[in-house]
Symmetry: C2
């Protein structure tokens, strides 16, 4: 049987690791549980797997562990920060909290952040706003990384450009976390490392032939990940990707037009308070009804039941909180080498 861990013990452990690597205590206390949250939700490429790389970035100075973002502009309902390469996870969580406060005041608040470090799992931030009755949208891109080509093209221009949306209902929130490309850098990298193939032809080689082999992304010149909609209707993913580029780079004012600064993120957070529109109760009456129309839908052949986005993640989280969290193979070993270096005790595992 695979080892299981107590989520709180994992948070505490990784909080200590970040602290030992130079991250301020208040920041480590936010970043660590958000990585664990991603693992709890089943997003295993965007949880504690990132702890090691983040510790490395803190050590070499490419991630800043201390200080505050610079306020580029603040118009109340609209805020722009220079993230100064602070932890993107901390910046995003802080932005969601501030945008929710501001949305309660202005009805809506948008925060655009340039020069953040990597932000990990977008879905992990959503309940911070939905638990307060607000709708939240988070998008990010990395202006230093390109793995997806524009529809019809072959040379990578942008990142998978995720879009996450949290929608409160009168029951569980709807937690959407999708990207503008069919698959992600994290998954293709992991499968390539394991010598495995993708389920379908979700990538293309360097001249534009569709493929299910992530190895085509690692040739010289490299292939690219196909946009959402693929060869058939990838203009839709292309459109979404451009929208995310504008939100996360053009609005905050740092992007692909600038010299590379290393692994990082442009970040966009928007929170809207239904009570400033037609009312919170009315909002949840509509979204709850919609959720039930979906869950009660007769499934297609091969489908057990129709789920809402977030149902799977919330179910995995509840199970892992009750029974302990199984980490994806290899993650705990990497953390072990850091624990040894910093002389921090490993969390106890139960089988």
């Amino acid at each position: 049987m695979t080892d299981r861990y107590d989520a709180e013990a994992l948070s505490d452990f990784s909080r200590k690791l970040f602290g030992a690597a130079g991250m301020e205590a208040d920041k480590a206390a936010i970043v660590a549980p958000l990585l664990v949250e991603a693992d709890l939700m089943g997003h295993t490429t965007h949880g504690l797997q990132l702890c090691g790389p983040y510790l490395g970035a803190l050590e070499n100075g490419s991630m800043l562990g201390v200080g505050e973002p610079e306020v580029v502009s603040d118009r109340g309902a609209v805020v722009t920060w220079d993230g100064r390469r602070l932890s993107g996870v901390w910046l995003t969580a802080t932005a969601v909290d501030l945008a929710t406060d501001r949305a309660e005041q202005y009805g809506s608040c948008t925060i655009a952040i340039r020069r953040g470090h990597h932000i990990a799992c977008l879905a992990a931030f959503l309940e911070r706003a939905t638990s307060r009755g607000c709708m939240v949208t988070i998008t990010s891109s990395d202006p230093d990384v390109a793995s997806v080509a524009p529809y019809g093209g072959t040379r990578a221009v942008y990142t998978p450009n995720p879009i996450a949306v949290g929608i409160p209902t009168d029951e569980d929130p709807i937690l959407i976390d999708i990207s503008a490309s069919i698959t992600t850098n994290g998954l293709t990298g992991r499968l390539h490392g394991e010598g495995r193939k993708l389920d379908h032809a979700w990538v293309q080689d360097a001249v534009g032939n569709a493929s299910n082999d992530p190895a085509v992304l690692f040739t010289d010149p490299p292939g690219t990940i196909l946009p959402t909609g693929g060869k058939d209707h990838g203009h839709k993913g292309y459109g979404l990707a451009l929208m995310v580029e504008a939100m996360t780079q053009a609005l905050p004012g740092f992007g692909r037009a600038d010299p590379a600064q290393g692994w990082g993120a442009g970040i966009y957070v928007q929170v809207q308070d239904p009570s400033a529109f037609a009312g919170r109760e009315e909002f949840e009456r509509q979204t709850g009804h919609l959720a039930r129309l979906c869950r009660d839908n007769p499934p297609a052949p091969g489908v057990t039941s129709v789920r809402l986005p977030g149902d799977g993640a919330l179910g995995r989280k509840r199970k892992a909180l009750a029974e302990g969290l199984e980490l994806y193979p290899g993650i705990i070993d990497v953390l072990g080498t850091w624990a040894e270096k910093f002389e921090i005790e490993m969390p106890a595992a139960s089988a």
Copy 2:
């Protein structure tokens, strides 16, 4: 050779038709050129093809041609209207203009509208905001119509739920107009009427088998249009569709939880002024650079060149303005019967 029309003459003609059917002059003067704009851009299912149905709706009272929306709430950066079944085209254009004024003041403005009538072509509204240097997002849904099933399901719950985004650059704006389903009600209806098939398996029959025949949408029980991403990764279109439902029905407070009111739309408009973020010049420096990275991209096999969303539409518009507009077959005949009824002179055609 197909007949060609002067765009201004078509606008003037349809403006008179709307006026004769009881629409206020100031509204007809906005609605008519926006339908022509859709035809100019090549969106022929969402331009003057809708003029006849709109005239019918004005006559039977299901579209209101006179009056103003009721202001449900106004918090400056956030506005909610009850559209009272006024023309959705007029409501949307008015909302884009107001949201742009407000965005200049607050940085961002969101307007959610319930109980509008149908809004036609989303792309046609975008340049109203981009020409003023602003980024604009428009989404809509029809709570009375269901043609798309949730991913994995078989019973229609919602509409294709389009999302349009206008992004200014230092050259032409990027004009995105996509939907959360692979194809639309308009196109499947037209092809079915003409006895034609879809390019690929973009729909499914009533039990969930993928098909390229739009006829499966007209059986009893009916099939459904597949979400963006199709059977392969349709959870992405599903997520987008739910986001649009929340924006266009839950925020303004009228939706599928309410009794049917006939053909109409929930509408969501958001405008953001880059000058309230990191500045307009900075915004366009990034988006212009991005646009050139896309346009200069080496094309995949079978692709002539990589285009930006909107490039095709803006090219068609320039050509049609210079050489005259060819209408899709059948449209002018329908308008002819209305012209005869209202005793309005037909626009002159040139071959």
